[in-house]
Symmetry: C2
Subunit: 340 residues, 2 copies
DNA sequence: TTGAAAGCGCTACCAT
DNA sequence: ATGGTAGCGCTTTCAA
C-alpha cells in the first residue's frame, strides 16, 4: 500500500505539501501540484479512508435507515428506489451509502440500540418511512448526525424532510374521476393513521370531493396491501352500494380492490373505476391497467442526497420540507382509453 | 466524545488494559475487566470506528455491488431482498453493508473506476448478478478484498459463489407439467445467454424434457421482462402451434406471456399452461395465479453474509459454490386447483 | 497481569 | 509556497 509519505519521499517534498496538492488546497505552486498529481496517478496512489476519517472526523458515508419490513416491501420496492437514487448521486461526490434496517424493538429502544449510529459510522442519516416517530427522530438528531426524513415529517417541529406531493397528486387524481368521468360517489381506501403519505393522499381526495360538492366516503385499513385493499373495497360497497369509483391509498390496495370487484362480477371500469397511487411497475399489468400517480423515486433520492450534502457543507440552513412533484398516469382503470 | 483514555484515567489504569478489556482479550484480571466494562457502560462509551479501522486495517464493512439497472429491478426486487438478508445477518456481527451500483462504463473500465473499492472502504465485497464478467471479478479479487459472487459464478476457475438451485427448481417445475398435467409439448422461454441463472433453468427444463422422451423447444430472448416474455410467447406458438405449456425463465416473462395469450383469446390454464420462476409477490395476483418456483432470497443473503465472515476470519478456505434450495409453488396457471 | 509507547495514514496548525 | 510536527483514537508489541 502506497501512502503520501511514499509520494513525498519520491518527490523530495513534505507530506504536508503532498496532502495539500491532493486535496486541492491552496498553498502549492501549480507545477509542484502537477508533479504530485502525476506521481500519484503513476504510482496508483489511493488515500487511506480510515486515516482521513480519523483525522477529519468525517466518514463520507450516509446511512439509509428504514424499517426492516419496508425494505424491500414485497409489493413495492419504493425505498429501494429511493436508496438507489441516493447512491447514484452520493457516489458522484465521493460519498458512500450504508443500509441499516431496524426492527420494531430497536425502534422502541431508540438509537442507543443501533451501534452503527452510535459509533458514528456515518456523517449523516436518512430516516425513510413513516415508522420513525418524533421521539426517535429527535434522539437521532441529538446524536449529532445530520438527519433527514424521507416519506415522513414532523408535524410541529420544523425538521428537514423530503416528500412526494401526495396531496396534490391525490387531488388531481380524484379530480380526474370527477371532471372527466363524472363520478359522484367516490370512496377513498385509507391506509393507517399516522402514515403521513396516506394522510396527505386522503386530504387531497377530500379536497377534490369537497370542492365538487360531493360527499366524501373514507374507508379505513390497517395496512396498504392487496389484502387490505380487497377487504376495504368490500366494506366500501357494502356501506354505500351507490359507489362507482374508488381511490386507493396506493396501487397495491387498488389491485386488491380490483380482485374483489372481479370476484363479484363487477365490470371495470364500466361499473367501477378504481385508481391507485405510486405507479408501481405491475400497475401497468393490472386488468384493466391501472390509472395512478407516479412518484419520481429516483429524483426523491437525488434530492435527499443533495439536501444532505448541502447541510454537511453548511451551504444551506433553512427550508424544512421539500416537496417533489408527482404526475398523473392515465391508463384504463379510470375509464379512459377503453378502446385501446 | 469519550475515549478509552477517559476510561483509563477514571480507573487509574492504562489505555492498553482498557482496550484489552473492551476487546475481550486475555491478560486482564476478571475484576478489573468488569470494572472497565461497567464504567464503559455507565459513561456510554462508544469506540471510534475510524481509529479502530486505522490501526487494525479492517473496516467491518461489506460492499454490496450490483449493476445499476438491477437495483432495484422494477419488476422484481430480487437483489434488494438479498441485500436485505445480508444486512440483517451482518448487523448481528457488527458489520455494516454499503450499496455500490455500477454502470456499464464502470464495468468496462474495471475496478479502477470505483473509488469505494480502491480506497478499501470495505473488507469484503459481494458481486451480485450476472453482469460481472470473469475479467472484472478477478481484478476485484486481486484488489485484496474478500470477494463473493451471488447469482453468478465462474465456470472454470473455482471461485466462492452463492446461487439458488435454478436447475433443480426448473427440473421439478417442468416435471410437474409433464407428470401431473401430461403435457408433451412444452416450450422454454430462455433469457439472455451468459446469465447463469437463466442457463441453469434452461438446463433443468431440458433435463426434465429429455428424461420424459419429449422434444425440447427453446425460444430465446434478449431480456427477461414482461415485454420479452410476450414476444417470446408469440414466437413459440408460431414456431410450434401444438405447444400447450410454457416454462418461462422468470415470473416477469411468464406474466408477459400470459398477457399475450389472453390477447389471443387462449384460455388459461385449459388451453395453455404457463409457469414462471422466482415467486415474485405479484405472481400470486396474476390471472390465473402463477405456478412458479420460490427462491429464499433472504436466506441467500444470510448465507452470503456467513460465508463472507467465515472467510474474513479464516475459519474456512474451501468450498466454492453454495447452492440454496428452491421450492415449487403450485398455483393455478399450471392447471392445478382449477376449482379454487 | 499491567503499562509504556510506537505506530496506523492523514490533516492541519504553526513556522519559516 | 513549503516544511515540521502534533495529534485523531485505537491496537499491539515489548518490557516490567
Amino acid at each position: 500500500m502506497i501512502t503520501i509519505r511514499d509520494l513525498a519521499e519520491q518527490l523530495g517534498v513534505s507530506v504536508a505539501t503532498v496532502s495539500r496538492a491532493l486535496n486541492d488546497q491552496l498553498g502549492v505552486s501549480p507545477e509542484l501540484r502537477q508533479r504530485v498529481l502525476d506521481l500519484a496517478a503513476e504510482m496508483n496512489y489511493r488515500p487511506n479512508v480510515a486515516a482521513r476519517n480519523l483525522s477529519t472526523d468525517r466518514t463520507h458515508t450516509v446511512i439509509f435507515m428504514v424499517h426492516r419490513r419496508r425494505f424491500p416491501a414485497a409489493a413495492d420496492p419504493f425505498y429501494s428506489y429511493i436508496m438507489h437514487g441516493m447512491e447514484a448521486s452520493l457516489s458522484l461526490e465521493g460519498y458512500s451509502i450504508m443500509l441499516l434496517t431496524v426492527t420494531d424493538e430497536q425502534l422502541a429502544q431508540g438509537p442507543q440500540s443501533l451501534p452503527a449510529l452510535q459509533e458514528k459510522r456515518a456523517d449523516a442519516v436518512v430516516l425513510a418511512g413513516p415508522e420513525f416517530l418524533p421521539g426517535f427522530i429527535l434522539s437521532v438528531a441529538r446524536l449529532g448526525l445530520t438527519t433527514l426524513l424521507v416519506d415522513n415529517a414532523l408535524r410541529e417541529t420544523p425538521f428537514p424532510a423530503v416528500l412526494a406531493d401526495n396531496e396534490g397528486g391525490s387531488r388531481t387524481l380524484t379530480d380526474h374521476l370527477i371532471k372527466v368521468h363524472g363520478h359522484t360517489h367516490i370512496a377513498f381506501l385509507q391506509g393507517p393513521k399516522g402514515w403521513i403519505s396516506c394522510e396527505e393522499r386522503s386530504a387531497g381526495y377530500q379536497f377534490a370531493v369537497n370542492a365538487a360538492g360531493l360527499e366524501s366516503h373514507i374507508v379505513e385499513s390497517e395496512d396498504t396491501t392487496p389484502e387490505t385493499g380487497q377487504d376495504a373495497f368490500l366494506r366500501a360497497i357494502k356501506d354505500r352500494p351507490e359507489t362507482t369509483a374508488i381511490v386507493a391509498s396506493n396501487d397495491a390496495m387498488a389491485i386488491g380492490a380490483m380482485r374483489a370487484a372481479r370476484q363479484l362480477g363487477i365490470k371495470m371500469p364500466q361499473e367501477m373505476a378504481i385508481v391507485g397511487f405510486d405507479n408501481i411497475f405491475w400497475s401497468a399489468y393490472a386488468d384493466p391497467s391501472l390509472t395512478t400517480v407516479s412518484i419520481p423515486t429516483i429524483e426523491v433520492g437525488r434530492l435527499a442526497a443533495r439536501l444532505l450534502l448541502e447541510r454537511l457543507y453548511g451551504t444551506v440552513t433553512a427550508s424544512s420540507r421539500t416537496i417533489v412533484a408527482t404526475q398523473l398516469v392515465i391508463r384504463n382503470s379510470c375509464g379512459c382509453m377503453e378502446a385501446a
